[in-house]
């Protein structure tokens, strides 16, 4: 059987995730790796929304915040196991995305960007101000996910870093698989069609408003799960997770790598996750760097890194 491009992408990604740890100089790099995977997951959601459907959200961090705080609050207040709190957070994020998107996505233009921006700010405000529930700007503890103990009962002893590297790596693979499935599916075609021409999409029977909402809900769930994984791994979460800067960071990662392709967006997440780690001085100037990267991409590589590089190679072949 011919192996399609989709499975080559997944095999390559899986191999990369499995092999890279052999070269880690210290256990710390497992942590960097899992941070990268979590960012990659959130950015894969942006590929669905922006790359496929052509809609821009500036409030993805709001959903990450909901995912993160679901894991902090649901286990403590309602006794939900932390792993299930991830699902609960995703469900809440999905419903909120539907409610925010529904009135907005019937309209054409940039309304979603503005509304999602407002939504993100609102979530951050609530997390900051509802001190009784969220403990405010200082952040709140998140219970242990508990799965590591389960694994060691089965004789699989992983360090905390290894465990999170593996778990987030698997989640990223699943997320990438789903997004790649979507791309070549009837729904994915409908999303990409409306990106190409809304009027033509509608003419062939695509309910444009409805599929836009589907894309927004899917991307919200990605962001939410990423936020949950981040909070569970850190065992701590602050309202910064829902901050505007985090939303911009996600969009910049997606745009840098190439928002229309899953591997591109993951590469973008990789570059922007690793850069501050490699050059620690840069960490202080994160906002400045995000701004510069965004400007640079818009001016020099409008399609993002991966498509631009591919085009360059193809151009040389001809």
């Amino acid at each position: 059987m011919r192996i399609s491009g989709k499975y080559w992408t997944l095999i390559f990604l899986a191999a990369l995730i499995a092999v890279t740890p052999l070269f880690f100089p210290s256990g710390y790099y497992f942590r960097v790796g899992s941070l990268l995977f979590v960012n990659g997951l959130a950015v894969t959601g942006i590929v669905v929304l922006t790359g496929y459907a052509g809609q821009i959200s500036l409030g993805q961090a709001g959903f990450a915040g909901i995912g993160g705080y679901a894991c902090a609050l649901a286990p403590v207040h309602w006794g939900v196991p932390p792993a299930l709190a991830v699902v609960l957070g995703a469900a809440v994020s999905g419903v909120l995305a539907y409610l925010v998107g529904r009135p907005i996505l019937r309209l054409k233009g940039y309304y979603l960007s503005v509304a999602s921006l407002g939504f993100g700010i609102l979530v951050a405000m609530v997390l900051n101000n509802e001190r009784e529930l969220t403990k405010g700007p200082d952040g709140i503890n998140v219970p242990d996910i508990g799965l590591r103990g389960l694994l060691s009962d089965w004789g699989l002893n992983l360090t905390n870093g290894e465990f999170w590297y593996a778990l987030t790596g698997i989640c990223l693979l699943i997320g990438a698989w789903i997004a790649l499935n979507l791309q070549s599916s009837p729904t994915g075609r409908a999303l990409r069609a409306l990106h190409g021409s809304e009027v033509a999409a509608s003419t062939v029977g695509i309910d444009v408003a409805r599929v836009k909402i589907q894309a927004f809900v899917i991307s919200a769930i990605y962001a939410s799960v990423a936020g949950s994984l981040m909070a569970l791994q850190n065992k701590f979460v602050t309202p910064d997770i829902a901050g505007f800067l985090h939303s911009v960071e996600m969009v910049t990662m997606a745009v840098l790598g190439g928002v229309a392709s899953v591997p591109g967006a993951i590469l973008g997440a990789g570059v922007l996750t690793l850069l501050p780690q490699v050059l620690t001085v840069l960490a202080e100037y994160e906002q400045l760097i995000l701004g510069l990267v965004m400007m640079g991409v818009m001016i020099f590589l409008q399609e993002g890194l991966v498509p631009s590089i591919l085009r360059w190679f193809r151009g040389r072949d001809e």
Binding site: I178, N181, L182, S184, S185, P186, T187, G188, R189, A190, R192, A193, H195, G196, S197, V199, A200, A201, S202, T203, V204, G205, I206, D207, V208, Q214, I218, A260
Partner: protein
């Protein structure tokens, strides 16, 4: 009752009456052409019939149901399909994917099945792909199937739009200048294709500046000038109508003959 009835349809833009009080009807298998000089309101009329614009006056009745101003995707379900004068191709897709999109109403299914690549989703996609390949062959684009749509010539894109519209198996097909920008051979092919589609029972509404083609294939012609219907009838009748000749045919007929 006709398949498609246009009753007193009108719209204005900034006080200018782009289309005013237009009436006509279309039967299954019939080719009705709308002709008129540039700016006469032909595309605007199409946009109202296909739900892109909401008419200010009048009604559109499709198979006995009033569908005035209904969104295009709802009209698609009721059997209306169209192409665009200013090409509306999905440039971000391949030629094949563009054609498959025409099968949207047949291939769509539960989102979850698509996300997890379930057998049902794969089967739907496979059927649509087979249908799309057959249609591409019908319009002579089968060898371009895997190319980016953006890389095709203008004439090929026109045919791709027709293939996408045919994929919907419409009852009514609106074609806005399908032969514009095509060479003589391509025009001939499109001409045959339209006649073939009409022969299969589809009602066709055609806007076309190529008068030879219009006179040859139309059953009925509606003439617009400044947004108003100034004449209608069989091709022979219309081409003799002095008002039509004055407004339009005079210059065009000379061009077509010379």
């Amino acid at each position: 009752m006709s398949l498609l009835e246009i009753q007193a349809l009108g719209i204005s833009f900034g006080g200018v009456r782009a289309v005013h009080d237009v009436n006509f009807s279309v039967e299954p298998g019939e080719i009705v052409s709308i002709i008129g000089p540039n700016g006469a309101g032909k595309t605007t009329l199409f946009n109202m019939i296909s739900g892109v614009y909401r008419p200010e006056t009048g009604r559109v009745v499709l198979s006995g149901e009033t569908v005035t101003g209904m969104e295009p995707f709802r009209l698609a379900k009721r059997g209306m399909s169209r192409t665009f004068q200013n090409l509306q191709i999905f440039q971000n897709m391949t030629v094949l994917e563009n054609a498959i999109t025409g099968f949207h109403l047949q291939e769509r299914g539960p989102v979850l099945a698509d996300l997890f690549n379930l057998p049902g989703s794969r089967r739907r996609a496979r059927l649509a792909e087979a249908g799309a390949r057959a249609l591409l062959a019908r319009v002579g684009l089968e060898r371009a199937a895997d190319r980016d749509a953006g890389s095709l010539s203008y004439g090929s894109l026109k045919r791709l739009e027709i293939a996408r519209a045919l994929a919907m198996q419409p009852k009514v097909l609106l074609l806005d200048e399908p032969a514009a920008g095509c060479n003589a051979v391509e025009t001939d092919e499109i001409d045959h294709l339209i006649a073939e589609v009409a022969a299969s029972g589809v009602a066709i509404l055609l806007v076309e500046h190529d008068m030879k083609m219009v006179m040859r294939i139309s059953n009925h012609i509606v003439v617009l000038d400044h947004g108003e219907k100034i004449a209608e009838g069989a091709p022979a009748e219309v081409s003799r109508n002095p008002e039509v000749i004055a407004a339009y045919l005079g210059t065009e007929a000379e061009n077509a003959d010379g």
